[in-house]
């Protein structure tokens, strides 16, 4: 029998996985102003690391932990040369970096099956449980991870540290003059963002249970960018809603096409709408559908004073 509920749960899982990516990109772009166009690379590192370990028989917690650190490490290493570059160069370099990494996973069969992809054994197998229950377990794991990432992101951006990275975003030179080691802050945010992408990748591989290089094309990065731009950069809740919106639009188009007769292919239409929407939002409401969240800390007063003075 059909179970629309499962489909909704499935969507919720994907929203969760993408929301983590969106939050991580938000840390990099929204708060620190880094144009990472290679987000998918770190997602991919997380997914592959986790899958390889799972195939070697490691428990899931170990997989996701190592995946997180692996993606964070790759992010850190990549950030060392990349972050010295200006925004447009950084974008192109990260995009090319993601593609090179994908080529390696694609062509080196010994790593993880090359073009054949790699299946991922399920970490949690409970026999005799209905699929709905399994879905709920998956959902719980994903949303627990999202909650942790969200919590970390909120803590980071609402701390004095977060104030500094926003200052870097606003005016790198001024921050530098104030004695902040801009590069160090950027590298830390990039590493943190990459590690979160690794978490997301690990969850993804465990949920889909099969990954191959074709999953990690640059389009995935741009999907996450759309979530951030639509949701409102520098607003963690906003970008999560952005993730909901983009996923809902994608699945909505799939279902709508069975009921509507359009002269246009709904898939084309969906992407065209997103394209136009991005341009319109950047033109008329560049703060996104949701504004930048205000700093919320005990040091709020100090911060707002500082803001006013600057």
């Amino acid at each position: 029998m059909s179970e629309p509920l499962i489909y909704v749960l499935d969507m919720a899982v994907f929203v969760g996985i993408f929301a983590i990516l969106a939050v991580s990109l938000n840390l990099e772009y929204g708060f620190t102003g880094l144009a990472n166009f290679g987000k998918v690379a770190f997602f991919m590192v997380g997914a592959y690391t986790s899958s390889i370990l799972a195939n070697m028989g490691f428990p899931y917690l170990a997989c996701i932990t190592v995946a997180t650190f692996a993606a964070g490490f790759v992010g850190f290493v990549a950030s060392l040369p990349a972050l010295k570059l200006q925004a447009d160069y950084l974008a192109i370099v990260t995009l090319a970096f993601g593609e090179i990494l994908r080529f390696i996973f694609k062509n080196e069969e010994w790593i993880a099956g090359g073009v054949q992809g790699i299946t991922v054994p399920s970490a949690i197998t409970i026999t005799g449980v209905p699929i709905q229950t399994m879905m709920l377990i998956q959902l719980t794991i994903v949303y627990a991870a999202l909650a942790i990432c969200y919590f970390i992101a909120q803590r980071v951006v609402n701390s004095p540290y977060g104030r500094t990275i926003r200052a870097i975003r606003e005016d790198e030179l001024a921050a530098q003059v104030l004695g902040k080691d801009v590069f160090k802050y950027k590298a830390q945010m990039f590493t943190l963002g990459s590690a979160m992408a690794g978490v997301s990748g690990s969850l993804f591989s465990q949920y889909v249970r099969f990954i191959d290089p074709y999953t990690f094309e640059p389009i995935l990065t741009f999907t996450v960018w759309m979530m951030v731009i639509l949701g409102g950069p520098a607003n963690n809740l906003g970008v999560i809603l952005g993730a909901v919106f983009v996923q809902a639009l994608e699945r909505g188009a799939r279902i709508a096409k069975d009921y509507l007769l359009l002269p246009v292919d709904p898939h084309n239409l969906r992407v065209m709408i997103i394209g136009i929407l991005i341009i319109l939002i950047l033109m008329y409401r560049p703060q996104g559908l949701f504004r930048e969240s205000k700093v919320k800390t005990p040091a709020l007063e100090v911060a707002s004073k500082w803001k006013k003075r600057s």
Binding site: S2, E3, F14, G117, Y214
Partner: protein, 444 residues
């Protein structure tokens, strides 16, 4: 007696015999088909040979066969007797196709094969009187999207049978979920041997042979021709690599140069120069129309038509002739293999006619396997008598033993793979200014 009279008599005879012979379910289909064949044969033989016209005999045979085939389907589909819970009023069949992304161009074509089958089924009155509704979803040539689309078909639309997905990685991605949710998946194109090892004995079927077989067919063809210095030139994807690995296994150190290429790169000049300079006698080539057209044209331009090319089925089909240079190159230098039915191809001819009538053009690669997959699904539903994944799966195993489709016998082994797969060895000829494919042998 003239031949048209013979034909008429035959048809009447066939119809009579079928009405008598039809039993329920697939029995009806099978009986109808064989009865038609017998009737045609008999009538043709009796009347035609007696009248001394071998032509009339041939015609009678084919007419009779056609009539039997038609009626067999009709009866087979109609006779699905509801057992236990009845079939729903509308039977939904899902289909996952790569309508966009890398395989998008191919998916757009293959979809037509599925749609043709559904149209025919509905024209014949649907499955046990119930119309079939086809729901096609785009997978964007991406495993993640395929899984998402598959879930939509299963959970929102409630499909228990899904035709597709096309690419092997997509099948790999949805396999586990299909088994969990007991949904029958019949892929018309996924050829990776990994599917067999990953999903044995379950809900994953395919109407196309595994690459392992064709790799062997290609390698044997090269051996038979006595080549000792061979290059492989394959798509860098599961299809190309699956065949390449098998061919390497068979040919060993006779392979002196191996090139895997990215089909989106499309600038193959230097790869081809390499092959030219390596001085090989033959090239084992695995590609699709999309890159094959370009590859063959550039190969002709580079003057590689003086060595033997042995190609897999990916480049078998009329679209290859759209590019004049590619067609000319194929005529000069290419032979190849492709999966065929072991007993001749009148069913294919019938399929091709129907296809041409519907779309105004000749069918191309995998549209036939897609058609067969859909027909098999419909017959299995009819035979199962209820819309239930597990029942349909068992029914599918059973009906496949009797089904002769556009691509011949489609018997599944216990893994859901083709039990027997024969390959035709083809070449290209130019007749009256038109290129066409000609069979020159068979494997095994």
């Amino acid at each position: 007696m003239n031949s048209s009279a013979t034909t008429k008599t035959t048809a009447v005879l066939v119809a009579l015999i079928i009405v008598v012979a039809v039993v329920a379910g697939v029995g009806g289909y099978f009986a109808g088909q064989s009865a038609g064949y017998d009737a045609g044969y008999k009538a043709g033989y009796d009347k035609g040979v007696m009248a001394g016209g071998a032509k009339a005999y041939e015609k009678g045979k084919s007419e009779g066969y056609k009539a039997g085939y038609e009626t067999g389907y009709k009866e087979g589909l109609k006779a699905g007797k509801p057992k236990g819970p009845t079939l729903p009023d509308k039977i939904k069949i899902g289909s996952l196709m790569c309508l966009s992304g890398f395989l998008g161009p191919m998916g757009q074509k293959i979809k037509l094969g599925v749609e043709l089958a559904v149209k025919e089924i509905n024209r014949k009155g649907g499955i046990a009187g119930r119309p079939v509704e086809l729901i096609v979803e785009d997978t964007a040539t991406d495993p993640k999207t395929a899984l998402e689309a598959f879930k939509k078909l299963v959970e929102v639309d409630g499909c228990k049978v899904v035709i597709g997905p096309m690419a092997s990685p997509e099948v790999m991605a949805i396999g586990k979920y299909a088994n969990e949710r007991k949904v029958v998946v019949i892929s018309p194109t996924a050829t990776s041997p990994k599917i067999t090892t990953e999903f044995p004995d379950d809900y994953i079927f395919r109407t196309v042979g595994s690459d392992a077989l064709q790799g062997k067919a290609l390698a044997d063809t090269a051996l038979k021709k006595g080549f000792t210095k061979i290059a492989t030139l394959v798509l860098n994807n599961p299809y190309g690599i699956g065949i390449e690995e098998k061919a390497k296994e068979v040919l060993g150190d006779k392979i002196v140069l191996s090139i895997r290429y990215d089909p989106t790169k499309m600038d193959f000049r230097t790869e081809l120069s390499q092959i030219k300079d390596a001085g090989v006698e033959a090239v084992i080539y695995v590609g699709w129309y999309e890159d094959g057209q370009v590859m063959f044209r550039q190969a002709l331009e580079m003057g590689l038509d003086n060595i033997q090319w042995i190609a897999a089925e990916g480049v078998y089909g009329e679209p290859m002739f759209k590019v004049a240079d590619a067609a000319e190159f194929m005529k000069r230098a290419v032979i190849g293999t492709r999966p065929i039915a072991p007993t001749g191809l009148i069913t294919y001819k019938l399929f091709a006619e129907s296809f041409k009538k519907e779309y105004g053009k000749a069918p191309t690669m995998y549209q036939d396997t897609a058609y067969d997959a859909t027909m098999l699904a419909a017959l299995a539903i009819a035979y199962a008598g209820q819309y239930d994944g597990a029942k349909i799966k068992d029914a599918l195993q059973y009906v496949s033993q009797y089904y002769i489709g556009a691509t011949g016998h489609k018997m599944f082994d216990k893994n859901g793979d083709q039990l027997t797969q024969f390959y035709e060895i083809w070449k290209v000829e130019k007749v009256d200014g038109k290129y066409k494919f000609v069979g020159i042998g068979r494997w095994p």
